[in-house]
């Protein structure tokens, strides 16, 4: 399991635009770099990221070799109701990780 840092406001007013920030530990090996032995190191990157808000996808991203190690992804969404945000990263070599965060919406 890769470690992650997820930043979601614990409380938000209904209709408020909130910023969500995520950071995940990953080498993001490009697949273009030679290693110490001179051979090209196989690609190992995160290919997709998605965020679901109570099951509904509110944000998604495709990542490629040019993205730096330990990708930081920040985005906005509208706080509609209390519930769970789930974050999902998947990539090469069967990499798959899901994290969740709770949010409380107050009127």
């Amino acid at each position: 399991m890769a470690s992650t840092v997820i930043n979601v406001p614990a409380n938000a007013r209904r209709g408020e635009v909130i910023e969500i920030r995520t950071l995940i530990r990953h080498t993001m090996e490009t697949g273009f770099r030679p290693g110490a032995d001179g051979r090209i190191q196989p690609r190992d990157i995160i290919q997709r990221f998605s965020c679901r808000y109570n099951g509904e996808q509110v944000f998604g991203a495709e990542l490629f070799s040019a993205v730096a190690a330990n990708p930081y992804i920040a985005f906005h969404t509208v706080a509609t109701e209390s519930g769970t945000l789930s974050f999902h990263w998947e990539g090469d070599n069967g990499f798959s990780q899901t994290e969740t965060a709770k949010i409380t919406v107050i009127d």
Partner: protein, 273 residues
């Protein structure tokens, strides 16, 4: 023009230069201002040499990738390992209490080795001697995570190298190493980081080399690395044979740098370009 006092001579020169090149005047005025307050600390952390976005990356914990290592270190702190089945926490308890200010006091004198050792070597020794576990490799992710977690407990505290009389000869040889020319390029640390700090080497600014943010997340490394890795990097940069990890020479240099930066704020885990 005839002036007897050297101070007035100086003023005369400034006036002449200002006439000759009006654009230079603000620069001269600024340096004259600084001359009035000689007590001001001229030491600057590498942080102040970075761009605004990199600074924000260090300060904001949601953005600082070094926090990933701190988080891993926190998990390792509580994990029982080795024959003793002891975790770090089993002896040291809550790191937020027991490790507060500890990283600021390293390198410190080791009774067994009779020489100064850095924080990473202290962790390695503890792991082998007390936890009776397999040794951690230099720059391994486990070691860096633990080091980052411990350094993080001293964030914002002043660097406080120990006032230990036994360290004195090692500080002296650290200073000597700092000034020693080395490698095919025949350069010393001091020639860049003391005499030419603030100038450029290629496109990058030369910082004053204060070890305030270590271990750091370096954008060039795409990961966290130790001060020893940084020192070794500089050594291969001047085409010298780098000292081995945990060599006494590196500990002496680290110690001298800590004394030189005494009182400056710890930034661990820092971010550097």
């Amino acid at each position: 023009m005839k002036y007897s006092a050297s101070g007035r001579k100086g003023i005369g020169r400034i006036a002449l230069m200002a006439v000759a090149a009006g654009m230079l005047l603000p620069v001269i005025a600024a340096s004259a201002d600084q001359g009035q307050a000689p007590a001001k600390d001229s030491r600057r952390s590498g942080f102040e040499f970075m761009g605004a976005s990199t600074q924000a990356m260090q300060v904001n914990e949601a953005l600082n990738p070094g926090m990933l290592w701190v988080k891993d270190g926190e998990a390792l702190w509580g994990k029982a390992v080795g024959k003793s089945q002891l975790s770090c926490a089993a002896c040291h308890g809550d790191a937020a209490v027991s490790m507060r200010g500890v990283a600021a006091r390293y390198p410190s004198f080791d009774e067994g080795l009779k020489r100064p050792i850095g924080l990473s070597q202290r962790i390695k020794l503890c792991r082998v001697n007390k936890q009776q576990a397999e040794p951690l490799r230099a720059e391994s992710q486990e070691l860096l995570s633990l080091e980052a977690y411990i350094a993080y407990q001293s964030r914002g505290m002043p660097l406080a190298p120990p006032a230990d009389a036994r360290l004195k000869p090692f500080i002296a040889s650290g200073l000597q190493r700092f000034q020693q020319r080395m490698g095919q390029l025949d350069l010393s640390c001091a020639q860049c980081h003391a005499e030419r700090a603030g100038q450029r080497l290629g496109s990058s600014l030369i910082p004053q080399a204060h070890p305030t943010g270590y271990p750091v997340y370096r954008l060039e490394w795409q990961g966290v690395g130790s001060l020893q890795r940084r020192l070794r990097g500089c050594m291969s940069g001047v085409r010298a044979e780098p000292f081995a990890y945990d060599a006494q020479e590196l500990a002496e240099l680290e110690l001298y740098l800590a004394v030189r930066a005494a009182g400056m704020k710890m930034e661990g885990v820092g971010v550097r370009p």
